[in-house]
Symmetry: C2
Amino acid sequence: MSDAYLLDSLPQQLGSDMPARDLWIGFDLGGTKMLAALCDERMEVIARKRKSTKGHEGAEAGIERVKNTIEKVVEEAGVSLDRVAGIGIGCPGPLDLNEGVVLQTPNLGWKNVPICELLEKEFGIPTVLVNDVDAGVYGEYRLGAAQKAQCVVGLFPGTGIGGGCVYNGQILRGPKLSCFEVGHMRVVPEGDFCGCGRRGCLETIASRLAISSEVAKAAYRGQAPNLLELAGTDLSNIRSGVLAEAIEKGDKMVEKIVRNAAKHLGVAAGGLINLLCPDVILLGGGLVEALPKLYSEEVRKAAEDFSMPAYHDSFKVVVATLGDDAAAKGAAVWAQATIESRG
Amino acid sequence: MSDAYLLDSLPQQLGSDMPARDLWIGFDLGGTKMLAALCDERMEVIARKRKSTKGHEGAEAGIERVKNTIEKVVEEAGVSLDRVAGIGIGCPGPLDLNEGVVLQTPNLGWKNVPICELLEKEFGIPTVLVNDVDAGVYGEYRLGAAQKAQCVVGLFPGTGIGGGCVYNGQILRGPKLSCFEVGHMRVVPEGDFCGCGRRGCLETIASRLAISSEVAKAAYRGQAPNLLELAGTDLSNIRSGVLAEAIEKGDKMVEKIVRNAAKHLGVAAGGLINLLCPDVILLGGGLVEALPKLYSEEVRKAAEDFSMPAYHDSFKVVVATLGDDAAAKGAAVWAQATIESRG
């Protein structure tokens, strides 16, 4: 009896040199900053460590910074690395998801970096690579605003527009690469040129960059006096918070431009509803956090206007709740699901 | 030894009143005709029975025709209904897939018909309802041109444009309804009005009906002399075979119009590649059967032009091979997969 009890309470702790592996690290590897979050079994964050990415220093130095951030986060929590059961790395693409290789990330300047192999060699801990937006959507599905949904379509307008879809508990992905490139859905065929080389992509009208460039024009013309005072006409200074503040202070033209961007996000959502019939449209990212009501309203309306009536009762529009932790927590819980499903 | 052998060869035949249930019926319930296909375990068709649907006679008479067609197909094969393990009904939507109810089918004129319950009551055989295009795509995935694909995106231009997606062996669907309404993807925002009430849907430029109406104009203007001679200017007479024949006889304007329609199908395919990264784009339906080379060429080219370069190596364009049997065989094999997975 007592033996059985012991085995039950310490399932993996078979000796003093083998502590229970009950913690998970989620790692958000972004273009400008990296964040490691150490999570317990319930995915509560017990320690965080941030560093700037310094992509210009190259991949080798970058991987050293990643390793160091991982070491620091467990150190800060005062636990041993031996307690970490798995590491999930959320990173912008393109990625080889099967081999765990960062193929290329324009923001990082890395090319063909076998990040999972390098970290597994260093720490001896199973490591899983996942697209950062997919991780964020999966995180909201498991821990945040989209729990228990059959199908979540996530739309994250930022500098570009990130998208991800969790269907029946799995991240929709290609055989090797991640997919769900909603930013390049064609919503305004005669619109501006996109970074991808084509015209009319959703990003050209609904990203923060697209909004910034249009409001900067308005400010230059004298139609956005508050914005002009807050940020001038340099796109780099026109962040989400500035847009929200200018709207609040009465810049009608800024509001009009942001609403039009949000509407087009809803047009894309409508198209995705016709294809996938999601029960949850999940909105997130800086713009949505700064203007949650405006975004929810416009996206819901346009999503209804641009989808089949048969689907109107089946979806709701929700705003992400995990904030800056979304990608890191999502990567941690995705690593847990992936590694535990391997047996 | 001999007992074990007997059990092996007759796994479900436990007495003379309980024959092995080793056959499956796939039923293609269309607006104008219905087709029952009796299939063996390997999904080879051992008997077929066709009837006209006569939707105008109402649902009750229609269900009687369905029952009768099922009885006739087993009669024709000379087998007992007791050998049928399951029935799959492929039907245009909207359908309640969970409850097995035909909610509404404009083509049939039926409303809220619990077809699965009615047939199960009549025959005592498990019955599964599935969207007819989904059934066709699933059939090609299991038995035809798209076998072993991780993700098949099926595009079937006809009077409208049907679409379906099989991802990791499952038909993508909503919580209750089928989805993947590719015909209403917005590809030409300033284009013609669609039957759905919006403008610019793929159907308005790439369906057989859209093509017919444009070539009829050309014929009227004297720019399609062969087509004019073959079919006149009545849209009802301008079928896929006529289009192919007019092109073969040298109607350059007809070819131009059909190529433009096929190109837009490829534009939609490109958008779907960015979203789902399918390994197979499956083309089917009357137009594609009549002009397989033209369609494959145009769709491949436009799909590349309108998708991200990272995905160009991961997909191929194939033409469906099951022909008129696709929906019936697909419904049969889907019923088999569904019923057997229930244990």
